[in-house]
Symmetry: D2
Subunit: 183 residues, 4 copies
């Protein structure tokens, strides 16, 4: 069983990124297990509160959730032309302590979205720059920029057909990448 962590960059209960992450979770085939990992409870990263003798329980739980995953799918909105503070904080928490990054080597994929045209392009590529340092082989094509994201779901919360088909291709290609990186 291959485990894929789903991470949404937005903390709102009705977040579109979260809805998309959960919908995409449903597109993985048998043999794959997806788990939505919360980031909203993580205290802002501060080395002073993250010492050998005293690690916040939320940090430990988050790091374990990532370590137990085989791959990570990020869905991110754009705040101020970058990823959210919450998502960046989660990257930082998972990357420490030095030499024990939870992210190391895990294949990743990025979906960005916005309610307008720009589709979170700035967030998408800022996130990718961090993934280089975190040593996560990242899906290149298909890039996933979702425009007009408020219109992707019908009143029952079902994602429209075109987007679903596109994201199915995206998931299939991500699965291929994951396969290539399983030693």
């Amino acid at each position: 069983m291959v485990k894929v962590a789903l991470i949404s960059g937005s903390l709102r209960k009705e977040s579109l990124s979260t809805k998309i992450a959960k919908s995409v979770g449903g597109l993985f085939p048998e043999g794959y297990e997806t788990q939505f990992v919360e980031i909203g409870n993580l205290p802002l990263y501060n080395e002073d509160i993250d010492t050998q003798s005293n690690v916040p329980a939320e940090y430990t739980a988050f790091r374990n959730a990532i370590k137990e995953s085989d791959a990570v799918l990020f869905v991110t909105p754009e705040y101020n032309r970058s990823i959210t503070g919450a998502l960046k904080n989660a990257l930082d928490v998972g990357s420490r302590p030095y030499g024990q990054s939870s992210w190391n080597g895990k294949p990743a994929a990025v979906i960005s979205q916005s309610i307008g045209n720009l589709s979170g392009f700035g967030a998408n590529h800022h996130l990718r720059q961090s993934l280089v340092f975190l040593n996560m082989p990242t899906l290149q094509q298909p890039e996933a920029y979702l425009a007009n994201s408020a219109q992707l779901f019908d009143e029952n919360g079902k994602m429209n057909e075109d987007t679903t088909q596109f994201l199915q291709t995206f998931v299939n290609t991500f699965i291929d990448l994951i396969g290539r990186h399983q030693n």
Copy 2:
């Protein structure tokens, strides 16, 4: 009296970014007042907890501190090839609610630093991308990339002469920019 907010991207008590920010604060001439603004107490931004009837007290205090400033100086380390989650969160908190951004129109300057060669280049330019959206006229030259930042201070916490001279020029040029954007 022109007020300049000083913001450090790191929360550690012994943070080099914080030390640099406070040292640079001392380089402003008469007629300028600098204020170090804390960002470590800001809850992760979430629109659900930031409603008209219920705004976290820390958000309000932070937004007021920025609004009362005439300009902002950022000093940032690099975490995972970008700014810290804490700094991005502060940008997000100050930018809301929609249409009432505290940052709007205030001149900004950016110093990045690292203990190695790279000097926080990735953090420096990710921050600048957000400052475009936040509509903050930002000092271009001199760029301030501080390498080997653990060696900038002597045992009494005094910044070395060369760096101090460079940052004095930096401050002077920033003051020129601030002057051009007053009313």
Copy 3:
């Protein structure tokens, strides 16, 4: 008379970026003179062919055109998630020889465009990163991302009303920035 250089990132004769640049040129008020500066004839930058005794005539003409300008407006498409090689080459040519950059200190504004949703976001911000180094104070808001750019013009080559109004505001704000940076 304030002189504004117009630079298009695309070399195609029917380039949308060029059409936009020329249309925007018409939105400057009395007292402003715009000049379209060609970049397609510049040999790829190579220090070996740009020596004190032997400078390509195209380099000299281009550098003079920029030096005689008071400000620069860039209109850029996106090629492979960045600016075009032609535009980057023009930036490089204008920036040399060391210490004699033609760009230095001149206010700049950036318009990016694409025929799809993404509006050249990647090109827009890559260009801005170079403008930091080139010391060009750059218009922050309004950012200009033009989506679906093939539909901006009618059959007579006239730009539609909404875009024209938006770009008039853009030009007016740019003029304000230029004014703040004249001596």
Copy 4:
């Protein structure tokens, strides 16, 4: 036999990027063949001169050289906080005509260098943003940022021991990546 194209972002005869590229070429083991591919003769990309009936001979030769390669190693200096115009132009030429990109699917690795501290960080990551679009799986760790590059070589043009060892690890990890992406 696995073929690796070596591309240098600089056109100078005595270019440090070119020297590094050629030195790294010598670090590939048996079974690998490296080929230095020139980019300085490519006319600035312009769709008008690249039509079905009339393709510049230099474009065709360059595209064929890339197509015949199994992987690509880029060594880039930084000009104005980005890659050189020459390198961006080569990316553009190789990416066309639409739907026939020569780069598609080929594993890539990036080395950036500068004669100072910053090591071409800005060029390194701008290049990576293009490689996403070009669908080239790119080596994440080890990142290769070479500082003080004028001091890497002795008077006989031999790269120093530490750098050679680091780049041998870099090459070995790249070879692992190439292996993962062969069919």
